[in-house]
C-alpha cells in the first residue's frame, strides 16, 4: 500500500506542472487586461500602460511564466493583483466554507442515496422503486440556482427558520454553523443524491443476479444480511468511484451554490478572479484544486484496494 501511495504522490508532480503551465497559458490568452480594470473608468491609455508595467504584464509571456513557476516552486503563489494580499491567505480564507459545504453535501448525499438505491434495487419494479427513480430524475433535472431560491423562499422567507445567506464557521457554534449550511448543502447534494442512488440501484441489481447471491438465499440467510453483507459490498466499487468523482464535481458545482447563498468559498473566489483577470489568484486556486483532485483519485484507488484485495496497480 505504501509504495502505491508514494508512487502516486511522485506522479503528482509532473501532473501539477502540466496543469500549472496549461492554466497559465490559457489564462493569459483569454481576452481582458487587469491593468485596464484597476485603472478605472477614467484612466488614460498612459495610466494603463504604467500599471501594466508595474504589474510586470508588459514582459514576454514566457518570462512571466518562468517567474511564476519559480515562485510556485518556492511555495509562493504570489499576491492578488488587486488587493495585494497573498494568494495563500485568500485561499486559506475560502477553504473552510467550501470544505464544510462539500463535506456536508456529500454526507447528505451518501447517507440518503445509498439506502435509497439499495431499496430501489431490492424492490425493483414496485411503486417504491418508481418513486425513488422519479426523485432521482427530478434531482438531475432541477437547476441548482432554481432549487436554491425555492428552498430560500420556503425555509428562510416564508417559514423564517433558516438564514437566507452567509456562512458561520464552526467556532461560531455548531448550531450557527449548521443553520447556515443546511440549505446550501441540501441544494448541492440533490443532484449527487440522484446520481449515487441510480448508480447504487444499477450496481446492486447486477449483483443480485449473481449465483452467489442465489446461494446465500438458498443457505437461508436473512434478506437484510444478503443485501448488506453480500450484495452491497460487491456492488460498492462503482458506487465508490461515483462518490469520488462526485466529490471532485462538488468542488466545481459549489460555484453556483456559493453564489446563490453568498458563501465565501473557493468557487466564488475563482469566478471573481476570472471575471477580473486576477491571474495569480486564478492560477493559485486552480493549482490547489488540481492537487485536491489528484489526492481524491489517490484516496479512491486506496479504497478500491481495501474493498477488493484482488486489485493490483
Amino acid at each position: 500500500m505504501l509504495p502505491l501511495i508514494a508512487r502516486r504522490i511522485l506522479a503528482t508532480i509532473p501532473v501539477m506542472g502540466v496543469v500549472a503551465l496549461t492554466v497559465f497559458g490559457l489564462l493569459h490568452l483569454t481576452p481582458g487586461d487587469p491593468a485596464v480594470i484597476i485603472a478605472g473608468d477614467y484612466a488614460t491609455t498612459q495610466d494603463i500602460e504604467r500599471i501594466r508595467a508595474r504589474l510586470g504584464l508588459d514582459r514576454p509571456l514566457l518570462a512571466q511564466a518562468g517567474l511564476w513557476l519559480a515562485s510556485v516552486a518556492r511555495g509562493d503563489l504570489g499576491v492578488s493583483i488587486y488587493s495585494g494580499l497573498p494568494v495563500t491567505r485568500l485561499i486559506g480564507q475560502r477553504v473552510g466554507p467550501t470544505a464544510a459545504l462539500t463535506a456536508l453535501a456529500m454526507l447528505i448525499s451518501v447517507t440518503l442515496a445509498v439506502p435509497l438505491g439499495v431499496l430501489a434495487a431490492w424492490r425493483q419494479g414496485s411503486w417504491l422503486d418508481r418513486a425513488i427513480m422519479i426523485f432521482s430524475v427530478s434531482g438531475f433535472s432541477m437547476p441548482v440556482f432554481w432549487l436554491g431560491f425555492l428552498l430560500v423562499w420556503v425555509f428562510a422567507i416564508q417559514a423564517g427558520v433558516l438564514p437566507v445567506q452567509g456562512y458561520q464557521p464552526l467556532e461560531a457554534g455548531p448550531w450557527q454553523f449548521l443553520r447556515h449550511l443546511v440549505l446550501p448543502a441540501v441544494t448541492l447534494s440533490l443532484v449527487y443524491m440522484a446520481l449515487i442512488a441510480r448508480m447504487t440501484r444499477a450496481s446492486v441489481l447486477g449483483v443480485l443476479r449473481e449465483d452467489y447471491i442465489r446461494t446465500a438465499f438458498a443457505k437461508g440467510l436473512a434478506p437484510r444480511r444478503v443485501l448488506l453483507a453480500h450484495a452491497l459490498k460487491a456492488a460498492s466499487l462503482p458506487v465508490v468511484t461515483i462518490i469520488g468523482v462526485g466529490f471532485a464535481l462538488l468542488i466545481g458545482g459549489a460555484v453556483v451554490t456559493e453564489s446563490v447563498f453568498a458563501i465565501p468559498g473557493l468557487g466564488r473566489l475563482t469566478v471573481d478572479a476570472i471575471v477580473r483577470r486576477d491571474y495569480p489568484v486564478v492560477q493559485g486556486v486552480v493549482l490547489v484544486v488540481s492537487g485536491v483532485y489528484v489526492l481524491l483519485n489517490l484516496v479512491i484507488d486506496v479504497v478500491y484496494v481495501v474493498l477488493d484485495p484482488r486489485i493490483r496497480y
Binding site: 481582458g32 478605472g40 473608468d41 430560500v152 452567509g166 466564488r268 471573481d272
Partner: protein, 527 residues
C-alpha cells in the same frame, strides 16, 4: 428685495427637495450597534488614488477625510479646513486646518500631510493635474497651515480640493502619500469617521469598519459630503452578495440593513414591503453614454457621428434599459439636468431617422459592419447596445454586435486599431452626475485626441475652452463657456447621451439618517 437668480433658485429647490425627501433623517438617533450594508461591488482595491473605481471611492470616504467637500446643493464647503484666505488676484491661497484632526494611528494631521496628499492626488487625477500645472509652489507654513502659490489663475481651486468623485483628494499621512502614485499604499490609515479593520477584510466577502472614537465632526448639519460626519454605529460591515435575488431576500429577511444599489427590476417588490424603504440617494443619477470611436471609419467622419445623434432617441433607450419612468428622465443637457449648474438645452436635436440615414450616406459609409461592443453581464451597457444595433439597422447600417463580458469590453475599448485588429466602433457606458456636471470633470467631452478618454476625439477648441473654464474665476463666464462646449458637442458629437436615470437604495425601516449624494456616504446613519 434681492432678485433670485435661476441658479440660486435651482440650488434652493434642490436643498429644499433634499430636506423634504430625506424622510429617513431624524434628529434623535440611537447610538451603537452594527450596520450591515450590501455594497454595489466587491472592494478589492483599497487605495482611492490608485484607482477611479466607485467602490474604492466610497471606501475612501469611510476611512479618509477631505479638506473641502461638496454639499447636497453642489456647493463646496470646508471640511478639514477651518479657515482659508485668497489674495485679491486669487493667486495666493492659504489653508489652516481645524483643531482635533487626528489620524487613526494617533498622529495629528499636519499641513505637511495635506501637501503630500495633494501632490499624490495631483499626479493621478485629471482635474488634479490641471491644478498642479497651475501651481508654482505648495508648502507648509506651520504645522496647521499650508500655502499654494499659483503661477497662473485657476478658477476651481476649492472645487478641485473638494472634488467629490473619483479621484477624491483624500488626505493621508505624508509617509503614505509619499508612495509612488502608480503603486498602492500599503496601509489604510486615514483621519476619517471610520477605521478600516484590516485583519477582518475578506475580499469577495466582507469589509469591516469600526467607528473612529477620536473623530471630531464639524458643527454644521450633514449635507452631502459636507457638514458633520457623525458616526452612530459601533461597527459597519460591507457584505458583498453577488446575486441580486439573494441580496433582496437577505434584506427582506432582516439579515442586512441597507442595499446600496437595488436593481430596478427588484425595486417594485421591495417597495411593497412595509418594513423597507426604497430611496433614491443620488437624485441626479447617471447619464448613459454611446461612445463612437473617432479614430476609425465611419465615425472618424463628423457626418457619421451626427447620424448617431439624430438616430438616438433617449426615450426609446430609457424605456428599454430602465423601463420604469419613475427612475429616468430625458435630458438635453450635456452637463445633466436637475439642479445642475450648467444645465442647458442649446443645440440639442430631436430624433430624425431620415436625416440620420442621409447623414450616414453623406459620410461615405461603405457598408462595412459597425462593431458594437456588447457586455452582456452589465445591464446598463448591454441593453443600450441592443437598442443602438436596432437603430443603426434602421438608418441603413450593417451591424456586428460583439457579445463579451464587461472585463473583456474594458480591455477591448482601449484598442485604437482597425476592426481587423480587434478594434471597435461603438461602446456604451454610463457615468454618475458628479463626474459629468462640469466641463472640468466630464471625460466624454474632452478633445485631446489620442490622449483623450476611450474613443479619442480631437478638438482643440474644446480643449482650449476647458482650459479657460478651469482658469475662469467668474461663474457667469464659466456658464457661457459650458454652453459653448455643449454647442460644439452637439456639432462634433464626441458622444451621444442616451438619457438620465437613477438607481435606488433599499433599507430597513430601522435605518435612519441616510444621506443623499452622488456617492454613497455611510456616516450619520443609526440602526
Amino acid at each position: 428685495m434681492t432678485p433670485i437668480t435661476r441658479r440660486a433658485f435651482l440650488a434652493g429647490s434642490a436643498a429644499a427637495a433634499t430636506t423634504l425627501a430625506a424622510g429617513p433623517y431624524v434628529h434623535a438617533q440611537k447610538k451603537g450597534g452594527l450596520l450591515r450594508v450590501v455594497p454595489h461591488a466587491d472592494l478589492k482595491v483599497l487605495d482611492p488614488i490608485w484607482t477611479t473605481g466607485y467602490i474604492t471611492r466610497n471606501h475612501g470616504y469611510m476611512v479618509f477625510d477631505t479638506l473641502f467637500a461638496m454639499d447636497a446643493t453642489l456647493k463646496v464647503q470646508p471640511q478639514m479646513v477651518d479657515r482659508w484666505t485668497a489674495s485679491p488676484n486669487k493667486l495666493k491661497w492659504t489653508f489652516t486646518l481645524r483643531d482635533g484632526l487626528k489620524f487613526h494611528d494617533g498622529q495629528p494631521v499636519t499641513a505637511e500631510d495635506c501637501v503630500a496628499s495633494i501632490k499624490r492626488w495631483g499626479a493621478r487625477d485629471a482635474l488634479g493635474r490641471l491644478l498642479m500645472a497651475s501651481i508654482g509652489k505648495m508648502a507648509p507654513v506651520d504645522r496647521k497651515t499650508f500655502a499654494i502659490d499659483l503661477e497662473q489663475p485657476f478658477g476651481l481651486v476649492l472645487e478641485a480640493l473638494g472634488k467629490p468623485s473619483s479621484n477624491v483628494p483624500f488626505i493621508m499621512p505624508a509617509r503614505l502619500a509619499a508612495t509612488d502614485p502608480n503603486e498602492q499604499v500599503k496601509e489604510m490609515v486615514g483621519s476619517g469617521p471610520y477605521r478600516f479593520a484590516a485583519a477582518e477584510w475578506q475580499p469577495g466577502n466582507k469589509v469591516v469598519y469600526l467607528a473612529n472614537a477620536d473623530y471630531v465632526p464639524r458643527k454644521e448639519a450633514p449635507s452631502g459630503a459636507a457638514g458633520a460626519k457623525r458616526v452612530f454605529v459601533d461597527r459597519l460591515e460591507w457584505r458583498y452578495i453577488p446575486d441580486a435575488a439573494t441580496a433582496s431576500a437577505a434584506l427582506e429577511a432582516g439579515e442586512v440593513d441597507l442595499w446600496e444599489n437595488v436593481p430596478l427590476d427588484f425595486a417594485p417588490r421591495l417597495e411593497k414591503n412595509p418594513g423597507l424603504v426604497v430611496f433614491v440617494t443620488d437624485t441626479r443619477g447617471s447619464q448613459g453614454w454611446l461612445r463612437p470611436n473617432h479614430l476609425q471609419p465611419p465615425f472618424n467622419n463628423k457626418k457619421a457621428r451626427q447620424a448617431l445623434l439624430h438616430m438616438a432617441d433617449q426615450k426609446t433607450y430609457l424605456d428599454t434599459v430602465i423601463g420604469n419612468a419613475k427612475y429616468y428622465k430625458t435630458c438635453p443637457a450635456i452637463f445633466m439636468c436637475g439642479g445642475t449648474p450648467y444645465e442647458s438645452a442649446v443645440g440639442a436635436p430631436k430624433q430624425d431617422l431620415e436625416k440620420a440615414r442621409q447623414l450616414l450616406k453623406e459620410s461615405g459609409y461603405d457598408g462595412r459592419p459597425i462593431v458594437v461592443l456588447d457586455p452582456t453581464d452589465s445591464p446598463y451597457a448591454h441593453a443600450p447596445a441592443l437598442v443602438t444595433a436596432d437603430l443603426l439597422k434602421k438608418i441603413g447600417a450593417a451591424v456586428d454586435v460583439a457579445a463579451m463580458d464587461w472585463s473583456t469590453m474594458l480591455a477591448r475599448r482601449a484598442n485604437k486599431g482597425p476592426m481587423g485588429q480587434g478594434g471597435w466602433n461603438i461602446f456604451h457606458t454610463w457615468s454618475t452626475s458628479l463626474d459629468v456636471i462640469t466641463p472640468a470633470v466630464h471625460a466624454a467631452v474632452g478633445g485631446a485626441g489620442e490622449k483623450a478618454w476611450f474613443g479619442w476625439p480631437t478638438n482643440e477648441t474644446v480643449e482650449k475652452l476647458r482650459a479657460d473654464f478651469v482658469r475662469q474665476p467668474d461663474p457667469a463666464k464659466q456658464k457661457q463657456i459650458a454652453e459653448q462646449i455643449q454647442l460644439i458637442a452637439y456639432d462634433e458629437v464626441p458622444y451621444v447621451s442616451w438619457g438620465q436615470f437613477v438607481v435606488p437604495s433599499g433599507f430597513r425601516k430601522n435605518v435612519q439618517g441616510v444621506l443623499q449624494f452622488g456617492a454613497t456616504l455611510l456616516w450619520n446613519i443609526s440602526v
